[in-house]
């Protein structure tokens, strides 16, 4: 033992790190901060370390070249011993890291920890969030498959909409005129050197400030933050009711971090790695690209925004959102910390959670995308054709052959871009159906040029049969009256 102590002393005489490390470990924290609510930041840091380690391991095999990246991922999945597991750890680690950073941010927001004197800690945290999202996006690109390729196309299309510098911005982002080898190379540099380097630096700053300024005391309703008095109050609290961070509070961080790592590993083993999907070959256009989980909400937003609002929202939205996050500690740097006295803060979090949750859920089944194969793979259910006349059956054929099914479902099969047509005859009269088919409207293309009169007649004859058994199809009462009158030999209209 004495030998080890002597060696340790030899190193510390030269490094002189033992004293500052002891200071950090033993700095007093308010006892009430040793809570399970305070573990998310350290867990995010732990997962970040996991990402660093697994990322370096993947880089031992991965080839950042447009021609070989996909094959090297296949080799990782299938040839290299446990390559699939390291990929899965990295992929699931990425999801967990984004989730933990978001949860940590919500906790900090609700506990008022961004207020004086921790404004800069929050601002650095906002940049850490942006970098984490940047890592998630660039990581998806390195999984150089069809989703990555077309995802880059979407990124380029968004970048191109920036006024004036849009065109150059696209070429700068892609490293050339098209998505190709140079694009992968620069996203590799971003994912492996630039953003991680910044992340390490910003994490160090973030943790340094947590240590220097002290962990945020548990928010008590009525204990108001004032710039003039907060620091002395906080120090009085740590003197009166403080405990050394190690081991008083740290054991919860340690247990939670281990649980998170275990969960990441369990997900990795059970669900396996993400992709890669098909080869990044732009001549294969039979593909339905979808972003990774944490960008699904954006996918939904881009589908649901009115076209005229899309560019302004895409370009101005992020500026407003990031500015709001950065300005938050300056706009409410003092005052109540407790969520019990901050209903608007709580409602804001709930509103954002419901909004993002709804968009994400919608994007999971993407009702706005046509089902490209529905017309040939989903037959018209039998019950719609029983007792149908020859004309109506011909109409059902037209319905399938003209790909109506790609956007309209029958019997809960088919696209959901347009309304389900199981009961369409109840909603629209035959004349309205003809007009809708020929002229389109709403969100439907006009089929006038692609349907012969005979096809239109047959199609509408079929559509008119689509109503529940006990419910009559819609009819134009005035037209019925006119027809009845003309049958009885009376003039059609009288003044």
């Amino acid at each position: 033992m004495r030998m080890i102590a002597k060696i340790g002393q030899w190193f510390d005489d030269r490094l002189q790190l033992a004293a500052p490390i002891r200071d950090v470990a033993e700095h007093p924290v308010p006892r009430n901060t040793a809570s399970w609510w305070y573990v998310f930041g350290s867990a995010a840091l732990t997962v970040f370390c996991l990402q660093l380690v697994t990322g370096i391991l993947l880089a031992l095999v991965y080839v950042p070249s447009g021609g070989d990246a996909w094959s090297s991922l296949q080799a990782l999945n299938h040839d290299v011993t446990l390559g699939w597991f390291i990929r899965a750890l990295h992929g699931w680690g990425s999801n967990f890291m984004v989730a933990l950073v978001l949860i940590h941010m919500v906790q900090v927001f609700l506990f008022g920890a961004y207020k004086f004197p921790r404004e800069l800690t929050w601002i650095v945290g906002v940049f850490l969030l942006l970098m984490t999202l940047g890592m998630a996006f660039t990581g998806q690109v390195l999984r150089f498959d069809q989703d990555a390729y077309w995802g880059l196309g979407i990124g380029a299309s968004i970048a191109s909409r920036v006024p004036v510098i849009g065109g150059p911005a696209v070429k700068l982002m892609l490293g050339g005129p098209i998505i190709a080898g140079a694009t992968l190379s620069r996203f590799f540099a971003l994912h492996v050197f630039v953003i991680p380097g910044l992340l390490i630096g910003f994490v160090a700053l973030h943790v340094l400030m947590v240590v220097k300024l002290g962990i945020n005391d548990w928010p008590m309703p009525g204990r108001v933050v004032r710039r003039a008095t907060y620091l002395s109050e906080y120090h009085a609290l740590t003197r009166k009711d403080g405990a050394p961070f190690v081991p008083y509070a740290v054991w919860k961080d340690l247990f939670f971090a281990a649980c998170v790592l275990l969960t990441v590993a369990a997900c990795a083993i059970y669900f396996g790695p993400f992709g890669p999907t098909g080869r990044p070959d732009p001549t294969i256009i039979q593909t339905v690209p979808k972003p990774d989980y944490f960008f699904l909400w954006l996918y939904a937003l881009l589908s649901l925004l009115p076209p005229s609002l899309e560019t302004p929202v895409l370009l101005i939205g992020p500026v407003i959102a990031i500015s709001a996050l950065l300005l938050l500690p300056f706009l409410s740097g003092e005052g109540e910390k407790s969520w019990r006295r901050r209903p608007i803060a709580v409602l804001t979090v709930l509103l954002l959670a419901v909004t993002f949750g709804t968009f994400t859920r919608l994007a999971e089944f993407a009702p706005w995308s046509p089902h490209m194969n529905a017309w040939s793979s989903e037959p018209v259910p039998e019950r719609f054709l029983q007792k149908a006349s020859a004309l109506e059956r011909q109409g059902a054929l037209v319905f399938q052959a003209k790909q109506c099914r790609n956007c309209h479902s029958l019997g809960e099969a088919g696209g959901q871009r347009g309304p389900a047509l199981d009961n369409v005859a109840v909603r629209q009269t035959p004349d309205q159906l003809i007009r809708q088919v020929i002229q389109g409207g709403g969100n439907m293309p006009a089929y006038g040029k692609n349907l012969s009169p005979a096809e239109t007649t047959a199609l509408v004859a079929f559509l008119v049969t689509l109503h529940p058994p006990g419910q009559a199809p819609a009819r134009d009462a005035s037209r019925d009256a006119v027809l009845a009158e003309s049958r009885e030999g009376r003039p059609a209209a009288q003044p």
């Binding site: 299309s157 191109s160 849009g166 065109g167 190709a180 001549t283 490209m372 293309p445």
Partner: protein, 179 residues
């Protein structure tokens, strides 16, 4: 500060900082040029060239066919990304329309459905008529078209850049809507 005196060491330090600043500025020029090379090279559409798609006899009149071609601008590490697909519509005779597969909304690959005469996008649900004009969905304009010419019976298009909604140097502007 009125009492500040200029010392030899202080002066040398300032000169040292100035010297480093000058060297840094000098180095910044090639570094910036390197970083922006993909942009500056593309000035005046240097990436664009005429690419043959094949003899026009390959394209029956009144039909729309998928054609793939190799990008005129390639690097050794492109792999399969050096190819591009496009939709060729032969209207009649030497009259063509050559559409980029990229949706005018956000660039996903559109698919042609001859039966309904529509291009449909799998991503956000954009749809276009056979002449490329917008039919429905989020796109604000019709499909991008490559400029084309027919030389010695060979259909040739001017290509080389990814068509994007904001920067459409390679492609023509919006077409009037048709119904």
């Amino acid at each position: 500060m009125p009492n500040e005196t200029i010392t030899r060491r202080g002066m040398l330090m300032k000169l040292g900082i100035l010297f480093n600043g000058l060297v840094g500025a000098a180095l910044a020029v090639p570094i910036t040029r390197f970083l922006l090379s993909s942009v500056t090279r593309g000035r005046a559409s240097a990436y664009l060239s005429w690419v043959p798609l094949g003899p026009i006899s390959q394209f029956p009149e009144g039909e729309t066919r998928l054609v793939t071609f190799r990008n005129p601008f390639v690097t050794p590490t492109d792999g399969q990304t050096d190819g591009t697909a496009s939709w060729v519509r032969r209207i009649a005779g030497d009259q063509f329309q050559v559409f980029a597969v990229n949706c005018a909304h956000l660039g996903c690959p559109v698919r042609w459905f001859p039966q309904s005469g529509l291009f449909m996008c799998p991503c956000h649900g954009g749809a276009y008529y056979r002449d490329g004009s917008r039919a429905s969905g989020p796109p604000e304009r019709g499909l991008f078209e490559y400029p084309y010419k027919v030389e010695n019976g060979v259909l040739t298009i001017q290509a080389g850049e990814l068509p994007t909604p904001g920067a459409t140097a390679a492609v023509r502007g919006p077409r009037p809507p048709c119904a």
